[in-house]
């Protein structure tokens, strides 16, 4: 066995990566690598979820599709429609990452079919969190209605000054990111909170990005922005970053849209942010999270109405009334107070 000294070992050079690509780069799953997995003519196995299942058949219909140079998922679907299953239903218009209508799930991950490179083995399914009409075509109405209800348009705080009006890119920085949105619904499908259905009133990432286009625009009236934000349930967002991970337009949805919108909501409609304010208050004064106090402060005496849940929380050690009442401070309280204290005290 030949050994290679650490000095001689080739050092893998990774392409420069941003946060969202870290895991991909480590596994050499770069775009260049993904684009060269297959050679022209090689057969890929594509399993597509169908709506009409033949007797005794599978909901997934398998196809062998020959690879073409730089092939996208949409090309594979078009090949299937032209050569193997003329009745396969899938929606697309532009094929150029502009109309945002061809999103599907490929191997469990939301992708824009016209944009994503094919893989040797693919399972193609419709988006989640929207009703399927047929095969890969989903009904977008739920999303469209939500966006319309948020009234994502300008109500100017000042009369229009004439073209070109005073405005800087600095002021539009976050709104400008939101303007890259092609409403493809990838994020909406990937969002675990939307996946909870009616348990929350969360509008979802895509409607929030649509709202962000004007709510983060300095020309908009704060009163208008407040009215829209109140309909979003935005504090149900758990900042899991799934939306950012799948966004084909590379919009930093959490950091540049949802977080700034949350900050706006906390300022314009503080009642919406009472959970966040209470949490920060508790951490600032105790130096730790106290779930018991948090529940009481957010839900008030209503919390006592569900004894079964309280019992469960007690048994699992989630809440500890003794600690809540007597264990006021930890050693971290002073530091936490210093860090957060100047902001504590809002509702």
């Amino acid at each position: 066995m030949t050994s290679v000294s650490p000095v001689d070992a080739p050092v893998p050079t990774l392409p420069p990566v941003d946060g969202r690509r870290i895991g991909q780069a480590e596994q050499h799953d770069t775009l260049a690598a993904r684009n060269s997995l297959l050679a022209p003519g090689e057969l890929m196995t594509v399993r597509v979820r169908r709506s009409e299942v033949p007797a005794g058949g599978d909901v997934y219909q398998a196809f062998q599709v020959p690879y073409q140079q730089s092939m996208r998922v949409l090309d594979a679907l078009n090949w299937i429609a032209e050569n193997a299953a003329a009745d396969l239903a899938f929606r697309w218009f532009c094929g150029s990452k502009m109309c945002g209508t061809c999103a599907v799930r490929m191997n469990g991950r939301e992708v824009l079919a016209c944009w994503e490179a094919v893989e040797p083995n693919m399972v193609i399914e419709p988006l989640r969190n929207l009703p399927v009409v047929r095969d890969l075509v989903v009904d977008r109405t739920r999303y469209e209605d939500k966006v319309a209800s948020l009234q994502p348009w300008l109500e100017r705080r000042e009369p229009y000054a004439g073209f070109p009006e005073p405005l800087t890119h600095k002021e539009m920085k976050d709104a400008s990111k939101a303007l890259d949105c092609i409403s493809c619904m990838c994020c909406y499908s990937a969002c675990p909170v939307i996946g909870l259905g009616n348990l929350t009133d969360f509008a979802g990432p895509a409607p929030l990005v649509q709202l962000g286009q004007t709510a983060l625009d300095p020309r908009n009236s704060p009163e208008k922005v407040r009215r829209s934000l109140e309909l979003t349930g935005i504090f149900n967002c758990v900042s899991c970053y799934k939306c950012e991970e799948v966004c084909p337009a590379s919009i930093p949805i959490v950091s540049r849209i949802i977080e700034p919108l949350k900050a706006k909501a906390a300022q314009l409609a503080p009642e919406m942010a009472r959970h966040s304010f209470a949490l920060r208050d508790i951490v600032a004064s105790r130096g730790r999270v106290d779930p018991g106090e948090l529940v009481l402060r957010v839900q008030g005496l209503r919390a006592l109405g569900n004894l079964r849940r309280i019992w469960r929380l007690l048994v699992r050690g989630k809440i500890n009334p003794i600690r809540t009442i007597f264990g006021r401070k930890t050693g971290a309280a002073a530091a936490a107070g210093r860090l957060l204290g100047n902001r504590v005290g809002k509702p």
Binding site: W92, W115, Y160, T168
Partner: protein, 571 residues
């Protein structure tokens, strides 16, 4: 089958259709938008890369203003344009278009100091948010304006035929919602066709998926006069691979915030196009590029299907990345940007010609039938021009609607159309699927009605299309005759429109016996301003067609020569 009554049926949800609907709504007239795709999310408007600065707006000099007008008339329309309309349009774009959009919230890209960022040079442009993607926020704004105004929309709904009143005037539209499979009869006092510039009649086309020449086909069947159907534009630098990216362009236009822009190399690596050096007056230098490519192809250094390259390797990466989306294509393929070039190919793009309209009202030769934007034959496309049409047509329609008129659409024509569509859905021949027929038609057009045309190929193409109509169409087979989301059914409807429009394009191409801009006849290589500085007007006569030649007035710009080899003409 439901029946809906409205004041005006607007067919198309792009820049022209949306603006027409918004203006009608403002005047208290009730529009209904019928869109084959989704309003603001399909068609050519979405692809607007940037917006040309018209007139003296944003510090344009007198010379800039004149250059823009000259570009529009020469390079963009090869003089086949009503110059007075162009002048009115330019003034409107300068005075109304930008302020209207900005007041509604469109973000014209600024720098950090607040200056609107422009491209430098003889003709200047601006971008909505980012160059290369301007159409997305632009059309998204229109979509929201339409929603905010409460304008009725029927989306993913195809207009399958125009309905007429007893006096022959347009009286409504027969529609199919291909998601639900339901028919709707729209009864309207006026119909506006706003179906766009592009169609997918060639193997490689910039037209989006749903495009199949519907607007022209519907108007022609209703008896409307057409013109310049042969004047087909081409993109010279769209991605050669993969097929779905056939309409993804390596934008050759001047760049915001940079003195440089894209260049093109032939198969030997020699530069054959660089907008900044080759023709600074060609803002959208598509014909300039096309002519340069024809020479490369003839020299064996490129093919229309690929084998030549475009990119930004001559540009400062920081400049390209600041205000444009141009790197996205390269990056998604894993190619270093801007160091590498992309293989490109030709795609058929806009059609300059279309429905003949009175440019003061946008009315066609059929009473009650109007055309706005790209489907009209009066001009080639820019998003500002299409929007201006939306303004003009709303005024024209409002004037006509001032005179009351009773609708008299007969029941038999509705029933006949309903039966025709039912039959198409249940086509059960032993022949090809409709999607296959569409590809067959596109292949004929690509091979025989491509960039370089000649009489013998054109005649052979007519034979091929005729064979598809007579021999393949009757045996068409639909595999699933369900009503819901049946794209095969939609394809079957499209095929018939495509066949009709292709025939009109081929006949018109045979008729124009010259070469002009992007219209290149091998057998008539000269641009002939003596005989052909004229509209190639196409009229229905009996079961056939006849041509008339209608010279253009030239009040502002003159070509300055009588006859010249088209490949040596700058525009």
């Amino acid at each position: 089958m439901q029946v809906v009554t409205t004041d005006v049926a607007v067919i198309g949800g792009g820049a022209a259709g949306c603006y027409a609907a918004l203006n009608l709504h403002k005047r208290g007239i009730k529009p209904l938008i019928i869109c084959k795709g989704l309003v603001g999310k399909s068609g050519a408007s979405l692809f607007a890369g940037n917006l040309v600065i018209s007139g003296r707006a944003l510090g344009n000099s007198e010379e800039n203003a004149r250059n823009t007008a000259e570009f529009l008339i020469k390079y963009h329309n090869q003089f086949l344009i009503d110059q007075k309309w162009a002048q009115r349009c330019g003034q409107w774009v300068e005075q109304v278009f930008y302020p209207e959009l900005e007041e509604a919230g469109l973000y014209f890209r600024r720098d950090d100091a607040g200056e609107v960022v422009t491209s430098p040079g003889k003709i200047r442009s601006i971008a909505a948010n980012v160059q290369g993607n301007s159409g997305v926020p632009f059309m998204d704004l229109r979509r929201k304006q339409v929603i905010r105004a409460g304008i009725a929309r029927m989306e993913e709904t195809v207009a399958t035929s125009l309905l007429h009143n007893a006096d022959g005037s347009a009286g409504g539209v027969f529609c199919l919602n291909y998601i639900t499979g339901e028919y709707t009869v729209v009864i309207a006092r006026a119909v506006i066709l706003a179906t766009g510039y592009s169609d997918r009649l060639h193997t490689r086309s910039t037209g989006t998926r749903e495009m199949s020449g519907d607007g022209v086909a519907l108007a022609w069947r209703a008896g409307a006069t057409l013109l310049n159907m042969e004047m087909q534009w081409w993109h010279t630098n769209d991605m050669a691979h993969p097929p779905s990216w056939q309409r993804m362009q390596i934008y050759p236009n001047p760049m915001l915030g940079s003195e440089k822009s894209a260049r093109m190399l032939n198969s030997a690596g020699e530069e054959f196009f660089n907008q900044q050096q080759d023709d600074p007056l060609a803002f959208g230098p598509y014909t300039v590029q096309l002519k340069a490519l024809v020479k490369q192809v003839r020299a064996g250094k490129a093919r229309y299907e690929g084998g030549y390259y475009a990119g930004f390797d001559n540009c400062d990466p920081a400049e390209v990345e600041t205000y444009t989306t141009y790197g996205k294509t390269f990056r998604q393929l894993g190619q270093p940007f801007p160091a590498t070039m992309a293989e490109t190919a030709v795609s058929s793009h806009y059609r300059q010609g279309g429905i003949d309209v009175d440019t003061t009202t946008m009315r066609s030769s059929i009473p009650g039938l109007y055309a706005a934007g790209g489907v009209g034959g009066h001009s080639n496309g820019l998003i500002g021009l299409a929007t201006y049409d939306g303004h003009v047509v709303a005024e024209g329609v409002a004037r006509e609607l001032a005179t009351p008129k009773a609708a008299s659409v007969s029941q038999p024509q509705i029933e006949a159309e309903s039966r025709r569509l039912d039959r198409l859905r249940t086509s059960s021949g032993d022949g090809p699927a409709p999607g296959r027929l569409k590809e067959d038609i596109r292949a004929v057009m690509w091979k025989k009605v491509g960039v370089e045309k000649n009489a013998s190929d054109l005649r052979s193409a007519l034979d091929d299309i005729e064979r598809i109509r007579l021999e393949l169409l009757p045996g068409m087979k639909i595999h699933n005759s369900g009503k819901s989301v049946n794209y095969e059914w939609l394809d079957a409807i499209d095929v018939i429109n495509m066949i009709d429009v292709c025939e009109l394009v081929i006949h018109s191409s045979l008729e124009r016996k010259e070469s002009r801009g992007p219209f290149i006849r091998e057998d008539f290589p000269l641009t002939d301003n003596d005989d052909w500085l004229a509209a190639n007007v196409l009229k229905k006569s009996g079961n056939g067609l006849r041509f008339e030649r209608r010279p253009y007035d030239l009040p502002l710009f003159l070509p300055g020569f009588a006859r010249k080899d088209n490949l040596e003409v700058a525009w």
